[in-house]
Symmetry: none
Subunit: 540 residues, 2 copies
């Protein structure tokens, strides 16, 4: 049976940026756009060119994507032509193939917030969209406050939809801007618009989670006939967030009746990357991933109840509505020691460490990982630190060198030009091959600026490791993340470091301490030891 095509329109980079506390950099936007494209969404709304420097810069730096890159903006203001509206011009100047313009579809807002007449608003919609089309672009119209407007004045709300279609819009997106419309209300309004003669193939849905029903509202709209769904990864967005694509995509792909009736651009293979993509976004924003998130949360397939756990061992389908592997997630069963151990052996094998089933080191490693995770370590992503820990417990890690002590100083004072400047310096003392070596380094970036104590420590530590120096000369620190795992005065700091080398390898390590410099040093040390375990000659 032919399935109908459903289009996914992602607005993580635009409406997602309205999340309190979220402020993307250009580099972050680029990385997220690439992840969205790999996932297979149809549209990537990149931001509002002209509204702020980051969004403007993003469109210049935007990667080439299979998805249609889309610039967002506003319909022209009343009293000037679309051609002469500078705000609209900046949106078009971003040069995207698709342009989305938002305009009001609620008479009260037109009169109260814009202070123009209803007819002026219709004219503004029609002409703005027509201008976008005349410039050779695909036009999308976001009908703001559509549902609230439709509830009090359906004729006017629908006139706004009609104006956009007359202007040549490919899509008119019905927006529940305030997030207050429940799924039943959304379904009834969509049905009314379609009954009024607008084909569902031209309609989209945009919901917010203010009543915790954004996902259900989007599904209800699709059931009523719309064929485009707007949302964000992890449900980022203004107030309570937008419809969560991370929940919607697997439901559309895996659950009846959706998977039988519709297809999207997300392949089964890409879907298996969903959990990773969700975590990547949280890491980029340094947000703690929601354990209870549908499909992708760390607890989404965790079976804590005793009754459930024992049934799961007989047949996973008893308590799982989908196979977690389909979305790249994994089952978690409060482990009998036996299940824990076979898991651990699998993990070690992945790291190239074959270990006999009855090796007495296995329960020791499991205990140590558990104890450290209770302190704040996290080995889910810090695979290299896990490997270092395991190699040490298995007696398969040479004693390459020993750190005797270090000292780091940060000083801030006036320079000779009477400007405040800071300087960081580190001294590291190691013992290599029986020989004591003192190394000192300043922190410094390419421009001669101070990059702080962790940079100084990394440079000093990697400065002279005697016979091992050649093995680490090609490595560099590429990312550094800090999280405080407990609040307040008991705060414990977790530092994650990503490193890279000349072979194109990339590895992650972790350190935990109340002292952020200590935590960083621990992660740096693991990174070097891991690299040596791969590339160094065994100690003589």
């Amino acid at each position: 049976m032919m399935r109908e095509r459903l289009y996914l329109y992602d607005t993580t980079l635009r409406d997602g940026q309205q999340t309190q506390g979220v402020q993307f950099s250009v580099a972050e936007k680029v990385r997220i756009a690439e992840a969205l494209d790999a996932l297979g969404v149809d549209y990537i709304e990149g931001g509002w060119p002209g509204a702020n420097p980051t969004d403007s810069a993003f469109f210049e730096a935007a990667p080439a994507t299979r998805a249609r890159m889309t610039a967002f903006g506003m319909t022209k203001r009343a009293g000037r032509s679309a051609e002469n509206d500078d705000v609209l011009a900046r949106v078009l100047n971003a040069g995207t193939g698709t342009v989305c313009l938002v305009g009001k579809a609620h008479a009260y807002h037109v009169e109260r917030a814009l202070g123009i007449t209803r007819e002026e608003n219709l004219e503004s919609i029609r002409r703005s969209v027509a201008h976008v089309v005349a410039e050779g672009r695909e036009a999308v119209f976001d009908a703001e406050h559509f549902f609230d407007g439709h509830a009090v004045d359906p004729a006017y709300a629908r006139a706004c939809v009609a104006a956009a279609l007359e202007g040549g819009a490919r899509w008119v997106v019905l927006c529940d801007t305030n997030g207050g419309t429940l799924p039943g209300g959304i379904a009834r309004a969509v049905e009314a618009v379609i009954a009024g003669g607008v084909p569902g193939e031209r309609l989209g849905i945009h919901t917010h989670d203010d009543t915790e029903t954004a996902v259900a509202g989007s599904l209800a709209a699709v059931e009523a006939g719309v064929r485009q769904v707007q949302g964000t990864l992890n449900g980022l967005g203004e107030r309570c967030g937008n419809a969560n694509l991370t929940a919607l995509i697997p439901t559309l792909a895996l659950k009846a009746p959706w998977c039988e009736r519709f297809e999207t651009g997300v392949s089964a293979g890409a879907l298996e990357g969903l959990t990773r993509t969700s975590r990547m976004l949280d890491e980029t924003l340094n947000r703690v991933p929601r354990r209870q998130a549908a499909y992708v949360g760390a607890s989404a397939f965790a079976h804590k109840a005793g009754l459930h756990a024992s049934a799961i061992l007989k047949d996973p389908a008893t308590y799982e509505h989908v196979d977690p592997a389909r979305v790249g997630n994994a089952r978690v069963v409060p482990m009998s020691n036996q299940a824990g151990l076979s898991n651990l052996r699998g993990r070690l094998a992945e790291a190239g460490l074959e270990v006999a089933r009855d090796d007495p080191a296995l329960p020791r490693i499991l205990e140590e990982v558990k104890a450290r995770e209770a302190q704040g370590y996290s080995y889910d992503t810090a695979q290299a630190s896990f490997e270092v820990l395991a190699r040490r417990a298995l007696g398969r890690l040479p004693d390459f060198f020993e750190v005797k002590r270090y000292k780091v100083t940060v000083e801030r004072r006036k320079n000779k030009h009477d400007r405040m400047v800071s300087l960081s310096e580190a001294v590291v003392v190691v013992k290599v091959d029986g020989e004591k070596k003192l190394s000192v380094s300043e922190s410094m970036d390419a421009a001669g600026g101070d990059r702080g104590p962790v940079n100084a420590l990394a440079r000093a530590l990697a400065k002279d490791l005697g016979p091992y120096q050649p093995a680490i000369d090609d490595m560099r620190l590429v990312d550094f993340k800090v999280r405080v795992t407990q609040g307040g005065t008991e705060a414990v700091t977790r530092v994650m470091i990503d490193s890279e080398d000349g072979h194109g390898r990339r590895w992650s390590t972790v350190g935990v301490s109340a002292n952020i410099v200590d935590a960083s040093f621990e992660a740096l040390l693991d990174a070097i030891v891991w690299k040596l375990s791969r590339d160094a000659p065994a100690p003589g």
Copy 2:
């Protein structure tokens, strides 16, 4: 018009305890039961007496409540009578007026997980419920896997419902145990049961959030006819959690058509305590409250988009579907680079700074906020840093003191017991009232451990500010958050600090630098200056 009564059945203390990482103490259960009772739910499911020591102890310590206290358990096992089932006996021994028993309603599970015949299962349901009723208790039957069972064998699923009603159950609760049934499927199954002759007044709904539609599924079931809703506060529960009562209750109370058709036991006054109750639960469990939670989240009524923020100032109804005060929450109009001048003036007024509409400082402040946000600052949450910035630009900030220089040292070495220990020390030099003051401090926690360079700096900076010292003596650092706003070697670190004082005030400040110690120092400095701007005498 008479509204129909809808019953709320809370299972925070039972299914909520299946949340990964949640383990209530008896005292916590008591506190939560009291909060639930104050809120006005009809049933409080307190736990499974006999299944673990805490649950048994809770029923002995349970407070007297207006809500019906309910013990949870399982239908009797096959091959023994209800009277002789020790598991069931322990449930009844808790002495609650209401008893809820779970039993299977899906033939596959009966045969596969229980290993008994379908008829034995029906008999077990009927007799167990009858036994509860014979003991003079109100009986509730949770029909486990009802929706999955109904999808493959509707006759058997409904026979299970009928068996419980024959046994005398007051309520039969249709459970979507695996969380995989979408709202449409729930509505159709409920309609089928009611069409089969079971009155909706005897039916309840129990959903899970595995597709992020638990709230919508519960609403769909009520629309289809059920009159009892099960859920948990903050959506706690197995895997992705149960239906979130914190979202459901306000929708039922405030939103059409629900508030027109139904009434619950939650009064308008109690509803105003909802946000506080939600936060109390998170504090009890030491969970970070979800900012984006519907109705009760800190961001639920935060208007970040510039267009929204300016309309909100004209009329809150433009972008708010309900008044935040109805649920005890509050509107937040944060500063961000998307905000305009009118937003800025509103924000300044909130900080007690009245500024004329045409004050030339306004555009300067806006520009500075934008420029700083592009560097990585974020003033959404760091209101105190925003205020310091604005006061300075408006010439309304005295020069309390000047920092001339600082130096911080972190040293890690072996102590006399040959163990690696670290020590952090800071020297700060300030000029106050024309006088130079040097302060030095070590970092130290209550146990004498090292807490790192930021702690040492905070102590040294707040050690001697001359005439201003009394104004800052009651302040303390309560939270510290770090994130890296750009990856790799260009990493810029943003530090946010929360401070508190003896007046119960709490304020947030921000610092940004490539050097994490500098960024922290900047945030610490803002925190002290903000406090002085409130409490210090003007400089002489």
